[in-house]
């Protein structure tokens, strides 16, 4: 019984050591990640960049192409999530305005026809 207890205890110590090594000392490293794994604040900034460009160029296909790089979700959904984050975290009125401008343009976008719906 003591022997079994010792064996299990040793295994637990080993497992703890393995976890410590695998999580802390040498965790799995993801060096070639894709944009869809970006943290929400980085994603929001990516959307903000797209909105900043769109505000000047007003080229919706280009904006959609840029947003498509971020996620498989619909562009409206991506911008909506970013806008929500931006509103909650006190982005400047100018930044919010740019993102809303893009959001509104996307809402009137007809993906089938590739045109703006009046």
């Amino acid at each position: 019984m003591t022997r079994w207890f010792g064996f299990l205890l040793a295994m637990a110590v080993g497992a703890a050591g393995g976890l410590f090594y695998g999580w802390v000392i040498d965790p799995v490293k993801y060096i070639d990640t894709t944009p869809d794994a970006l943290r929400i604040d980085y994603r929001s900034d990516y959307v903000l960049m797209t909105a900043e460009v769109f505000q000047v160029e007003e080229n919706l296909p280009d904006a959609i192409r840029r947003l498509a790089l971020l996620d498989d979700a619909s562009p409206v959904q991506i911008v909506s999530q970013a806008l929500e984050f931006a509103e909650q975290h006190g982005y400047s009125p100018e930044d919010l305005a740019a993102m809303r401008f893009l959001y509104q343009a996307l809402q009137s976008w007809n993906p089938v026809l590739g045109t703006l719906t009046p």
């Binding site: 050591g17 903000l48 960049m49 900043e52 460009v53």
Partner: protein, 294 residues
Amino acid sequence: MRDERGYWYLLTGVLIGAVLGLLYAWLVQPVQYTHTSPASLRSDFKDQYRRLISAAFLANGDLVRAKARLDLLNDEDSYRVLAEQAQRSMAEGASFDEARAMGLLAAAIKQGAPVISPTLPPVPASPLAETTAPEAALTATLAVTLTLDGTPLPLFIPTSPSLSATASSLQAPLLALTPSPTPGAPFVLVNREQLCDSGLGQAQIQVLALDAAAQPVSGVEIIVTWAGGENHFFTGLQPEISVGYADFTMTPGITYTLRLAEGGQPIPGLSTSECKGADGGTYLSNWRLEFSQP
């Protein structure tokens, strides 16, 4: 009997436990990667990210924000990486606008130019923008105030190459409170010389664009034509030489004509020929053309 077996069972337990722990840590429940940073992106996505940062910089003129964004990519030397990517894009036949945006951003980083923002004063309210140094924002506001004190200036860096050249050329003189160059004045050829440079290894047309204050101007579009071909390129893509510099590699036997897209006289008869360098060696000659705004 028990003593003969010793304590090997403990070592066995530790080993089995360690293997199970590693399997769990690496395979079953590895470190999450759902909240990654731009620094971990694959290189092609980093290229896309840089393109978007440059395009956003061109749209809002906010260098402080653009630099903060570039810092997220953990590039060792942002301006060099940008300049190289701009040149690579041009070589690969990618969009001129994208290459130009990257070249302009690289040039702005090299120059340390102030922010030209359409939204005054710059309000760094996003989490990313909060990382920018307050003194940088102050400099930016000051620069814009100085700008507004004198001649009214466009607050956007416009997308037209000719206007952007004017905008970028205005930045350096403003900091030094020197008179601004004439906006939109056409460039004129002030120097044309044929060089025999042994160090280049290829025949080039080297162009340098300067404003009226003799400051290099980035973003000037240059058009080179020859029998059966045409090529466009911009100053500012090699900021390590000069932000007003651009070059074009000539093929022996072909005669080129060069002109700036925004006007000015065409410069015909540009071809390379063999020449003797100072060291007595034979090389292909280069052309050096210097343009300036009056």
